[in-house]
């Protein structure tokens, strides 16, 4: 399961495939697999992603899903902001509108989790209380169960799952760091082929069997981020401290001083 190159570990990704990944700011996104998918150039991808929020940062600091914009055919995401919108809000970034021409299928975070879970567990679909009376019910079957209205939602089973974990053992057991866990574990469980990038690969037995979050059976390939290189925990931590010196990033991400209420 252990691979040595990010480019090689995804070299079999075909045009037209589906890929899921966690993206929610700095922690827990598969930075090197995103870069490798960019290099690979696979087209017409259905990208299932927690948040599509473009980043204006230089790719060696931090990459966002906008790096893949020209390769995306369809986006399934609970949170979509275009680069044009961010640009108009004053974020120092290029307008990538010409690349962001993909179809966007809206969903909620919780529904995304539940659809992935249904996919992970081989279910045929489920009835959701979320989305009733909203755009999410459009075109979907509804049903009253015990007097309450539900929407029939279908499982998601992505062909590839790009996962960011902290440690892996050589069998593929994974642990995470803080909120970098996010939806990585459920994406690992739901995907046909799960590829994890990790800070460190250790020998079997070095991870506490009680603290392993993703058991090896859900993980097909693992790659270690070279120590100190982009996307690794240490490197990212350093980058974030630099990034937070930029006024535009500091304001939303750090609370201002507690103000006394009048």
């Amino acid at each position: 399961k252990v691979w040595n190159s990010f480019d090689e570990v995804i070299s079999d990704i075909p045009d037209g495939t589906s890929v899921c990944m966690y993206f929610w700011g700095f922690p827990g996104s598969p930075q090197n697999l995103i870069r490798a998918l960019k290099n690979n150039g696979a087209k017409d991808i259905t990208l299932i992603i927690e948040n599509y929020i473009p980043t204006p940062l230089p790719p060696e600091m931090f990459v966002g899903p906008n790096l893949l914009a020209p390769q995306i055919k369809k986006l399934i995401t609970p949170y979509y902001v275009s680069s044009a919108r961010l640009s108009s809000m004053g974020m120092p970034m290029e307008d990538q509108s010409s690349a962001e021409q993909f179809e966007v299928e809206p969903i909620s975070h919780g529904l995304l989790m539940a659809r992935l879970r249904a996919g992970a567990g081989g279910l045929g679909g489920f009835y959701s209380p979320v989305g009733v009376g909203t755009i999410l019910e459009e075109g979907k079957e509804k049903r009253i169960i015990n007097g309450k209205e539900y929407i029939l939602e279908m499982p998601l089973r992505p062909e590839f799952g790009f996962v960011r974990a902290h440690k892996a053992d050589k069998y593929g057991n994974l642990t995470y760091l803080g909120v970098g866990r996010g939806s990585n574990p459920i994406m690992a469980m739901a995907s046909e082929v799960t590829i994890a990038e990790v800070d460190e690969i250790v020998e079997p037995g070095e991870l506490d069997p009680e603290a392993i979050v993703t058991p090896a059976a859900f993980v097909d390939r693992i790659v270690q981020i070279p120590p100190g290189s982009p996307g690794g925990h240490q490197h990212l931590t350093e980058q974030v401290k630099e990034i937070l010196k930029i006024e535009w990033f500091r304001t939303p991400f750090l609370a201002t001083k507690k103000q006394e209420a009048s």
Binding site: W24, G25, F26, P27, E50, N51, T77, P78, Y79, Y80, V81, S82, A84, R85, V104, P106, I107, S108, H109, G110, M113, A114, L116, R117, P129, V130, G131, V132, G133, T134, I135, L136, Y176, L177, G178, V179, G180, R181, G182, S183, N184, P185, I186, V213, H233, L236, T237, V240, K241, L244, R250, P252, F253, L254, A255, T256, K257, K258, A261, S262
Partner: protein
Amino acid sequence: MIKERLSEEVIAMRAAKEFQDGNYINLGIGVPNLCALFVSEDKTVFFESENGVLGYGPVLLEDEFENVDIRFVDAGGRFFWPKGGMSFFDMDISFDMIRGGRLDISVMGAYQVSQNGDLANYRRPNDASIGIGGSMDLAVGAKRVIVAMEHTTRDGQPRILTECTYPLTARECVDLVVTDCAVIKVTQEGLVLKEIAPGWTAGEVQEITEAKLIISEDLKEIEL
């Protein structure tokens, strides 16, 4: 005459007064997030963030940013201090917690609230962006939904309406609305005006509210 509106901090203080000891609470981006600063000291409450953390500590202040740790970030992207008793978990579990009714309170911002408690808070009409996030899940799942928002739009249009005109987040989900001039409870009978800001009359609040307000028998000035 233009009456003085309450500040964001005061809205947050009033909303935070709803928190009970031991409550599990999710705070939305913006004014709701400020509630964390105003929890009374005799109460222990637990904040949950959609990205998979429960019981986290206070948000980092601007002069603390050397302590930034990327393990500790909330769903709004704000860094927090770790705290004893906090836990990290898969977002799948996070949303079972939310949808399964294990959160006592969700405080959210809103564009619009209707008289039967419909909520519109994820998208303006004709906006290409989609900000559903976890709002639909929280609106359906939390035991109580408190909306904290300005009473009117920037150009003075009402946000508390007979029916929402913006895309809905969820139907009949809001329990309480705290604004910069009023506290309004959503009931079976309609919207009940419970509290008003200092210097305001019930009639003045009604004037900037499209939906009909029922004046509470014990209407009083907002208490913090």
